[in-house]
């Protein structure tokens, strides 16, 4: 599981690749910190290569979303597979984020 972060014209882009399972979540939480530190900005998470997510990963998505709410930023998720999208839908997470 990798997260590559870049910044372009004030937008933070995070590109996720691999399986975000419970074993990968602690490292992902550390990798996510630069986005948590920029929660006042527009954050885009490119999930085109995100193969899997479980509740440990969803929890981190929610932490980031909460942080952006408190700092007037926002989170857009793009490129999710139908399987990953289904996880967001059945947990009610779909309505918490902007999807592209």
């Amino acid at each position: 599981m990798t997260l590559e972060i870049s910044e372009n014209n004030g937008t933070m882009l995070g590109v996720l690749s691999g399986r975000l399972d419970t074993a990968a979540a602690p490292q992902f939480a550390r990798d996510l910190q630069p986005l948590m530190d920029n929660a006042d900005k527009h954050i885009v998470l490119d999930c085109s290569n995100l193969e899997f997510i479980s509740s440990s990963g969803l929890r981190l998505f929610l932490s980031l979303r909460k942080q952006t709410i408190s700092q007037n930023g926002d989170v857009t998720i793009k490129g999710v597979s139908p399987e990953v999208k289904q996880v967001f839908t059945i947990t009610g997470f779909y309505s918490l984020f902007n999807f592209e």
């Binding site: 074993a23 929610l62 408190s70 399987e83 996880v87």
Partner: protein, 133 residues
């Protein structure tokens, strides 16, 4: 076909669970979305045991058995830890806004959503969670 995976209560073992389920999917010719849902539901059930069954103890056993009689996949998750019935946990309110959503509580909810039937028994000093997928 019957197969058992033995794990210990260490979250670093979760990828081994994923490999076992992927291999099961290959052997049984399951569709990718079915394999995805089994990965998710079984990871949530197993992680719940890893986190709570054996407080303060390491290298403790967890067994996951699959049986594919009659076209149904029957999974039995067993541990020898603290008796706990996850089917009695309260479902989270999934309609709350992000700022009001609690950070946890989705694991067992996902198991219930993704498996067609989930039941629990405590037998021979083992927690047994039976999941029909």
């Amino acid at each position: 076909m019957k197969d058992t995976l033995k794990l210990t209560n260490d979250i670093n073992e979760v990828p081994r669970l994923g490999e076992w389920i992927d291999s099961l999917g290959d052997r049984l010719g399951l569709l990718p979305d079915k394999v995805f849902n089994l990965n998710l539901a079984l990871e949530e059930a197993v992680v719940n045991v890893m986190n709570y069954a054996y407080p303060g103890q390491n290298h403790m056993p967890i067994y996951l058995t699959v049986d594919d009689n009659d076209g149904f996949l029957r999974f039995v998750l067993e541990d020898e830890g603290v008796p706990f019935d996850p089917t009695q946990t309260e479902a989270p309110d999934i309609t709350l806004d992000a700022d009001k959503r609690p950070i946890g509580g989705l694991g067992i909810f996902l198991v219930n959503q993704l498996m067609s039937k989930v039941s629990y028994e405590y037998k021979d000093k083992r927690n047994r969670l039976i999941m029909i997928g």
